[in-house]
Symmetry: C2
Subunit: 213 residues, 2 copies
DNA sequence: AGGTCGAGCTTTGCATGCAATGTATGCAAG
DNA sequence: CTTGCATACATTGCATGCAAAGCTCGACCT
């Protein structure tokens, strides 16, 4: 149905930065762009608003623009949730409830992320990095946590896309990914939680510092 | 605007169990009940769906009915998030960034929760209990976390409302609340995180056991 | 020249109409 | 008696129309 089409296309446009944070967006304009009537666009905008990607602002909606403080909050939530998913994934691994193929996939994604980062393919790196974290969340087998994380990731992505820059220490990031991968593979759930949390918070503070130079 | 009216009224009806989990709900019927046209109702239903309170199911929507497994997942997420909010609240308290009046409010809510529970006023107890946890989340000063928690709480409430029964050990619950209150008041953030997490998970396993007798 | 009030246009919110789709029911055949 | 099919109906999805609410811009007054 057209509503879903509108929703996913608008989401893409926003996540790709075509509509940057703070951009105003009227339903008529969006309807014209997507070549459909206002009704499905309207519903799509409401869904995106519920997902926190846009915010009603007087006339029409604006793409969310998280301030630094909001980003800090978002990262705290993300850290808490990713600590959970990493812990659960490790616990499932310990109980032998994770298929070796899935684990290999995760390993593969980690490798490709590191390669893309090292080669400076920034867009790919971002996408793969997110995929790495999402794969872990999927291995955790907790749908609620995955959904909550998708929302947070979306919001963070929108508000940081404009200031993308290569990580200062690429090896550092992939080192952390490898560590995480290792403890999950070993089923050490407590360590997984701690490392995941630290990794997320480290990402934030590094990006944050970069920002202010 | 009518959309928001529809949204909050429907949310209330669902959270109060008027539309129990699994209930089918057509937009025409809801429109008739709320005495407005289908359009705002339609949008309201989509918002509720985005919040995870209803789920599109063929024709119309059904109120979510979390299975036991889903509830376990929900409680894991809730525990992770409440550990975060408790930790943040305690940290803010330590830094003297929480107004004494707010802390007294929290104390007051805890007391009233205990009273309502002890006196068997079940509906009040549930409402106050949720308020207690929400107040802590508010003290944490993290909007994202609060929003994520509201969603989880809503979903849990819907699916557990039908099986409400007095806690087996009322003193046990209010004891945990008091502990949490104490460590937050003392600004011991690590302890706050641990106690909050344990309390949430304890709530789950107790309710879960009750369920199966 | 600057501020304030007003008119017009843009845009939204809601209702309703129409077409399409999925479902249930009843009937007939095996 | 059960199963399969066809028909009719309930219900949704989308478009469009209409009224109300804001903004913008301009003109007039101070």
């Amino acid at each position: 149905m057209q509503t879903d089409v509108a929703c996913s296309r608008l989401r893409e446009l926003i996540l790709d930065g075509v509509y940057p944070p703070g951009a105003r967006l009227t339903e008529m304009e969006a309807a014209a762009t997507l070549e459909m009537s206002r009704t499905p666009v309207r519903e799509a905008l409401r869904m995106l608003a519920a997902d926190g990607l846009v915010r009603p602002a007087g006339r029409g909606v604006v793409v969310v623009a998280l301030e630094e403080a909001d980003l800090n909050e978002a990262y705290q939530v993300r850290a808490a949730l990713e600590a959970l998913t990493a812990e659960l994934a490790a616990a499932r691994q310990r109980e032998g409830r994770i298929a070796p193929a899935d684990l290999r996939t995760l390993h593969d994604v980690a490798t490709r992320t590191a390669t893309a980062t090292a080669e400076g393919r920034l867009a790919d790196a971002v996408r793969l990095n997110r995929r790495f974290h999402r794969t872990i969340a999927e291995l955790a087998g907790n749908t609620m946590a995955l959904q909550a994380l998708e929302r947070i990731w979306d919001q963070i992505q929108v508000s940081t896309l404009h200031s993308l820059m290569p990580p200062s220490r690429p090896a550092h990031v992939s080192g952390q990914h490898d560590e995480l991968l290792a403890v999950i593979t070993d089923g050490r759930h407590e360590a997984a939680a701690a490392i995941a949390r630290a990794h997320v918070l480290d990402t934030r503070s590094t990006a944050h510092k970069e920002e202010h130079r």
